[in-house]
Amino acid sequence: MTFAELLTPAEVERLHEASLDVLESVGILAHHPGAREVLGRHGCVVDGDTGLVKFPSDVVERYRKMVPPRFTFRGRDPRFDRTVPDDGPTVVTGSSAPNVIDPVTGVERRATSTDIARIAYLVNELPGFDVFSISTLAADAPEGQFSLSRFYPALKNCLKPVRSNTPTMADLHGVLELGELIVGGRDAYRERPIINHHYCPMVSPLTMDVDSTEAVMWLTEQGLPVYTTVVPNAGLTAPMTLPGCLVVGNAEFLAITVLQQMVREATPVIYAGLPTVADMRTGAYTPGAIETGLLIAAQAQLARFYGVPAGGYIGLTNAHANDAQAGFETGMNTMLAVEAGATLLNMGGLLGSLMAFDFGKCVTDNEIALMDKRAWRGLEFGEDELALDEIAAVGPGGSYMGRDHTKKRMRTAAFLPRLAERGTRSQWEDAGRPQLQDRALAEARRILAAPNPAVWDGALDARIREHFPGIVDGDATSPEALA
């Protein structure tokens, strides 16, 4: 497949050079003393008073070239492991929303660990999703178990790779202990690290924070899977032009990537972004705007130039209901990204600019993801596919319907949607004019009505519960509650 290219090769190189210039002449404000120390030791120029770090171009070039071309997400079941970019579009849920739209009342409320368990199960079953980035927070988390109350229900109910962040080092160590219990010890865990970490250590413009940077450096040193996202916001934290926004984001990507390589050579990374253009009428955050798609597409080209996998938060929406806006923002933007060769799509389930999870939106995004994956397959051009013998055999005026050739391909040539309406108007009216959201919620209920086969065995669960006294139930309970 050839990818859509928004930038000429000369423009890509110009963006790279411009970013090098910014890193060398403007620099990065690094708040973490450990990061400053590592950067300084490897050739950057550190101002100890201000924390400003300047990156000579040759240093950046040396370290950024160490990055390997792929990144692997591992799950409880290795069959669900995914490698970007080799495995094509890898679809990840949107994460860390504080709220959920209650599937019964339709009212937005704080999300709980039970919501996480249900969402994990749903994501496990929906074939469009490859990685479960823990969609919400858990407001019912017991004291000291903020992250455990998210990772435990997530891992318990999902065999696919689980991804998220932790706010503190203590929480990070806690979830790693959980991971080790699940896979059977520290060594086994090092072989199969099933928690995939993610942080936003770069605070635009051109600043590196303390806590996330510390987590990224530690995980990198340990050789555990971690990647970062850059979040330039044109008009507020980046220039009000798409190329200017790309330069700031690219300099930030290079800075954190170079730091990771200094900590440990050949650490896998992803060029992940959540670039936006602010709505300057109000300052509103606009992840669903079309410019996000354009910027992600351009970042995918930059990533190809660097030989690293690309993608990010793409296909999110500002809509507060799973309506047409939610659909077009997710659909148009993910399409732009896929056509440009981005293979990491953080897109599923969130409404309201990352503030709330919605079960119907999640099921809808599964369908959009499957359409994106179908688009990625392209035309599958070949001599066979030209079907010349078949055309001759059917001849003018004949029918392809009853043919073996058709029968063999009818389930794979086209993606068959479960939600999109394909019936007649009268059928639709007879069914009570169901809206997309009705169908999506019905599908969620159907899936959640059955017991979850992904849940681990009782003995393991008992060990975990003993190890973490007071931990939440983590069960995807009561489909009735969803009725």
């Binding site: 927070l137 008009g235 009428r281 109000t282 955050y285």
Partner: protein, 222 residues
Amino acid sequence: MGDDGIFEELKQSVIDQDEEKVLATVDKALAAGVDARKVIDDGLLPGLDVIGEQFECEEIFLPELMQAALAFQSAMAVLEPKIRESGGEGPKKGRIVLGTVKGDLHSIGKNILRLLFETSGYEVWDLGIDVDLFKFIDKAKEVDADIIAMSALLTTTLIGQKDVIDALGEQGLRDKYRVMVGGGATTEEWAQKIGADGWAPSAYEAVTLAARLVGAQAGSAA
């Protein structure tokens, strides 16, 4: 009424978001013997009112609002000392200490808030992000603030808002300041639960809230 021309000019220079013109016109007015207080009340503030209305109906956007605010502030830097020299009071509607709570690095919403407060005539001390609870309180004491306004975007840092309110209580200062909270992670229920004086879902509504709180305080003090 020969003064009308100069007030119109002052007002227009703010509407034009033209800092140089604002400063030049202020100089011209002062040289002509116009009282500093009147320069503000009859020239600059009416200009800011127009700017506010234009922003509200989306005729102008944030950057324009911001430039008008900056021009206004530069003028205030010249005018305030003059008012104080003549023993007058600052014209501000109120003093606001603002920041994003401890552990929280989200600045975008807070910055917009500062801008809208400033264009509405408040004096704002922006403590930035990741602000320790004592920094809020110390600054409020230092500048004799009317309002402490705290932003929190993370459910994990929300508690910082409660900490400030609790600490104010412990120091016997709770009634001295009005406390308003906001930011993505907050809700009205949260604000009530922690005993804040007000909550608003957007910067725009925060300005109305501030007016209400300052009004209420003036009322209760009287």
